[in-house]
Subunit: 251 residues, 2 copies
Amino acid sequence: MLKDIIENNENYQPGLSIDCVIFGFHDNQLKVLLIKVDRNPKWSLPGGFIPIDQDIDTAAVTILNDRTGVDGIFLRQFATFGKVKRNDQHFDKKVLEYLEIEEAKGKWLMRRFVTIGYYALVDFLKTIPKPSSDREIVEWIDHKEVPELILDHKEILDKALNTLRTELNLMPIGYNLLPEKFTIPELQKLYETILDKKLDRRNFLRKITNIGILKKLDEKKSNVAHKAPNLYSFDKEKYDEVLKNGLNQGW
Amino acid sequence: MLKDIIENNENYQPGLSIDCVIFGFHDNQLKVLLIKVDRNPKWSLPGGFIPIDQDIDTAAVTILNDRTGVDGIFLRQFATFGKVKRNDQHFDKKVLEYLEIEEAKGKWLMRRFVTIGYYALVDFLKTIPKPSSDREIVEWIDHKEVPELILDHKEILDKALNTLRTELNLMPIGYNLLPEKFTIPELQKLYETILDKKLDRRNFLRKITNIGILKKLDEKKSNVAHKAPNLYSFDKEKYDEVLKNGLNQGW
């Protein structure tokens, strides 16, 4: 892919890239989808470049789909990163040496490029990571155990996580991260994992019920020894309404 | 400035610009600082390009200061705009004809450039708009009476306003928009103007007091016939603390 961009430099928006922070929830962990190119010791966020004939939002969807197999998901732009030194020496040394690309010299790819950060919330069980070549590994990693990342990707990831925490106060988010049917304790665990703190059970129940987006199903969780908890799903219509108008009436 | 960028194309980050939405509060109006270049019938947001040796955040501060005389203010990146057609034909027709710049052809400035939006909150009375040339007019305009803007600047302005409304629920904002001393009704009016709705006086008083950022002064508003209201100022230390940790304890 990098080779294609260097050879077809003119077909891409100069000096600009996109990086995606993809969150999934599984085993009570908030996981992040990361990529590693075989000989490079560091991991990276899935990212790519922007064809000159594509809107940036479209390019983000395409990159996400091409590099991870993830499709039709909740994707939001959250910030743009452009420190002068953000990709200093990254491409001209390590990667290019590795790719043995001589002709790259002097092209925009060799200078600073600014990157637009998007974050995605996906259903872990429906997401099958798909590497774009057999030189790549794509893996879900617990956000608390993220290894060393290239460039400023750690900063991008941290900012995405902070945005997600803030947005918990502004909109519902469970629809994209939980399976179709879930229990209240499972939903609470999702919130606790994102916020990284324990929540009071009764307060949580009251608040989440007040939002009015839950549908109690006539069904109980199976495989549970006794006192099986009730299953719920989201009332999609109301959910979308709250998503549009915001959670917090605030002032 | 445009001429400089075309002649020194290599010194700027290719394909990228910055636009600033500058809000001020005066006469119970939320105003926006807009620029008009004399013969162009449309107005625009103050904006500019990014020197290759500057971080984008630094470039935003510089642009804001150079084009408006505004300094040391609350400035935040809020979104990046990159539709393919966003500056279609803008520069290659109108502006270049006007500037009579032949050599611009084929440079990145002639293609789509993506723009990073920043918004600023400033004290209206301390802000003296400063045009960067005598061909420009810089003016405060009520956000409800914004004339036709170039490119997608209306979309950028709307998005900034929406961000500001959302952030009213997340952080205090009055410090940057009000004079040092103010009355509670003045503060309430600021909130009402941004949210474009009436607020209940008692609820507002209770909520704003609970945040714990106000300092009651031993001083009353002068020039008021009778029952002069008390003056307040912000407790800057507490204000900054809330700004850092967020207004809403939420979950």
